[in-house]
Symmetry: C2
Subunit: 417 residues, 2 copies
Amino acid sequence: MSSEIALKVAQAVDENRLWQRLMTMARHGATPKGGVNRQALSAEDRAARAELTAWATKLGFAVAQDDAANLYVRRAGTEAEAPPVVTGSHLDSQPTGGKFDGAYGVLAGFEVLEALERAGIKTKRPIEVVAWTNEEGSRFQPGAMGSAIYAGKYRLPDHLNSVDRDGVALGPELAATLKALDVPRRPIGGAVTAYVEAHIEQGPILESQQLQIGAVTLVQGSRRYTIEVTGEEAHAGTTPLKLRKDAMKAAAAIVLALEQAFDDPTDTVRYTVGRFDVFPGSANTVPGRVFFTIDFRHPDRATLTTLTDKIEGIAKANARGCEVKVTRISDVSPTPFDPAVIGLVRASAAALNMPSMEMISGAGHDAMHIAHLCPTGMVFVPCARGISHNEVESATPADLAAGARVLAATLVELANR
Amino acid sequence: MSSEIALKVAQAVDENRLWQRLMTMARHGATPKGGVNRQALSAEDRAARAELTAWATKLGFAVAQDDAANLYVRRAGTEAEAPPVVTGSHLDSQPTGGKFDGAYGVLAGFEVLEALERAGIKTKRPIEVVAWTNEEGSRFQPGAMGSAIYAGKYRLPDHLNSVDRDGVALGPELAATLKALDVPRRPIGGAVTAYVEAHIEQGPILESQQLQIGAVTLVQGSRRYTIEVTGEEAHAGTTPLKLRKDAMKAAAAIVLALEQAFDDPTDTVRYTVGRFDVFPGSANTVPGRVFFTIDFRHPDRATLTTLTDKIEGIAKANARGCEVKVTRISDVSPTPFDPAVIGLVRASAAALNMPSMEMISGAGHDAMHIAHLCPTGMVFVPCARGISHNEVESATPADLAAGARVLAATLVELANR
């Protein structure tokens, strides 16, 4: 069902060129252990944006950014005014992240643009590659911020005062990031014909099935919380245990009580305490305050709601005399993707002789917000041992190119309809 | 049993002058909440040392420091070569500490020197006030470092590479601290006739007994450990719980399993996890590493040993597939003080019409190291609600002066024997 033209573009995708671009991009924020620390709106993130802009400009593509610093690379279509077909992902990383999470989706999209250019093929609709701002949410919460703002789920002004761990606010960092690039400003939002995002799976399924392509049917839902436990600082040597209000032990008890409450024989629940800050953090002082995060995910909306609604009660029941404040900072329902886009991804893979499978995404992605605007889908490729959010994250050039080829065929098909 | 001269010096102690000096000292590292952040060898610590040196120089006392930056203020005796009677404490504080922990002992000692000077009284032996380096151990572990080095328990070169949380090494910070003061260098160590340290109690007993003076009989023993739990970073949305090596949940399980093992109906055990650092500390990444401290104290050596010897086994039994490394970083036996000094503290209090009591110290103090060199004792005064290692730590001018008077009478008595 893929057109001759779509397959021609897919074949013009260059494995080496894509790999080299990924390795070049990975230098921005490179860590000694071979990973990437390129947190949202940091100097490293700015360098990555500048790199992409330079590549795009060299190939004659139009570059623009919006007030949320979402960065757009556009290849014109023959119908100049038609809403674009959009692809992309994000350039920011976890503090100890890998080379592929996010960067792959942006550069696979960019590779499709270059393949079109080299093959001398024009599409009816424009194709845009977007690098969405702050997908990871590790520096400034919540994540997937740029795409959520684009989709109208969040409002930018509500997040300008969000601060990172060092007390640096998002607003000035965003302003500095925008200022660092000399490209036109465009409004946030706008009509989109369809959205397809390529990404490493970040889980072990494709590898274990020995398949190169996953067509994503659904992004599981997530809720994220911050919990602040406030006790009383006291001297570690003098204060009897029974008189303490020890925020550390209370918080540990809350973490483990929740683990028990979320026990799931099917191992479908995803419950993570990723950040856990203890104050004042001195060996001989009883901690007076703990701030921690809960990341909870589930594919089923009802289960997601029922289980997370228990958090506040369980936290308070295990507070041991401390005060507990539970704040829900994000709530994303499970997001089904568009059956037509899913079908097109599978058809493109089949036309390229790549067996594929349908799968759900355990991770959240920018696509889950854009799915509320237009028909949306995702292309997954394997990563080694399913390891991601880790400096050892890795993927093979061949698998990455395979994903880019399926993306190319899918985007061209959508852009010519 | 206190001499006329000793009582005369005690009466020359000036409550207002002592209080004003304490308030002036508290400006170095003052926090918005009214506490003090004056961590060892920091710029604030250096400013406090300079302040003390300026006061001492103005009154004509000799000031010196040794290679460990222990700072000595000496008032000569009529027998110039006699080993000094020594008092003092420390000027460093917890990151969220109070105005009195440490600073009180130094300034009470200094007040005794000034009272002697104003009263025009000469003692046979010299009296020295020492500000010991890094008692708190919150920035650089272990604590009570300067006094332990003086007593020959630690060697300075073994600690020069100790690093703080920001990776700053002790060596250069020590060198900069030494360089900041233009005073003569003296050797580490030396003979001491007797040592008496004044300190706020940091516990609730004197306040509840409505007494101003505690004569300390024993410092309970302590052992301190660092525990490093190493798991594997992974994506919070994709990685099944059963496949994780979650260092955060393993560390929480270890903390609570130890709590259970240390359960003590008499509430004599002191078990504190004061520092607990989670890496990489991102909400949507399963933590790959946790570093935490255990501070354990008990007045009885056998119980101290038996209980803490369980730590490694319990930690490993609760590791949940992570690697666990347990390191003992300090081991201090319960330290009994000298009966003659204890008796003299009580006699001095009685002669000044202050009822007193004998008590053990829950906190460690520099005195516990110096006790291995010479007859040693401590004078405790009450602090509000027993709260210490907290910015709200407080004590009354009258109680602080009462302690300084008892210290004065005790020191003069010891210096004239």
